[in-house]
Amino acid sequence: MKRTIAATLATFAIAFAAPVFAGPREGLLMQYASTAQSSGFSAERGQALHKRNFAGGKPETPACISCHGENPRSPGRTLSGKPIAPLAVSVTPTRYTDPAKVEKWFKRNCIEVLGRECTPQEKGDWLVYMINQ
């Protein structure tokens, strides 16, 4: 009897906890982790990546912060003057909830800034930095 109760409780715990662990952001991180084969992601590395001057892509956009701005909690601005919603999840809660959209912009923006696509490690670090912001 005791075991049954424990099992039932465990099932409920998993059932209720699962959606929390399997959100779209976590799904992305898991996907990056499985291909990065690293010991984990770091927000500090993500921040460094975000601010680093790569100058490997287009001359107008040497770094992420060229358009997104120094502070992830403030809005950015595209080259043609359109405002960009802040990257920090705390300010823009809808961010990184559509995996296809995240991948689309990683691809475009990494090519424009770094001159190449970002690695799963870089994507994971950067995403963790923004989720924690």
Partner: protein, 163 residues
Amino acid sequence: MNLTYRPLVLGFIALFFTAIVFDRAQAGGNHFYAPVADPVVKEECGSCHIAFAPSMLPASSWQRMMGNLKNHFGDDASVDAETAARISRYHMANAADASGQRYSGKLLKGVALDSAPQRITELPAWVREHRKVPDWEWRHKDVRTKANCAACHPYAEQGYYNE
């Protein structure tokens, strides 16, 4: 007998002139270009720059542009095939030379419809309309590029390009 036709004819003449004047007033005073209504098109074409109204360029222009998204004014703006088809369809149906377009005729003055111009800011009518804008205004930190319509036309996103 003749007398009964007279008021009718006069009435028609008056109506005819009113129609002409009204049409002129609408076409000339209204710098309106219907904004993009399709949410997917708005998202895909309106993230980096304002989602330019399809009625600002002829269909041939959009066709050419959609065929070269890999090099979209220097950027790779490729989208998947399904999205590209949807964007193309929307732009074809609402292009400046599509049927039912009312106000865009002026912007296409002096443009061969099959010449497929790519930059709205190079259309002769656009250049003429903006000839009085001084250089320093284009270089202003809130403007910086001629693609930044909304810097000077606050209701550009809604389709209104009056001053």
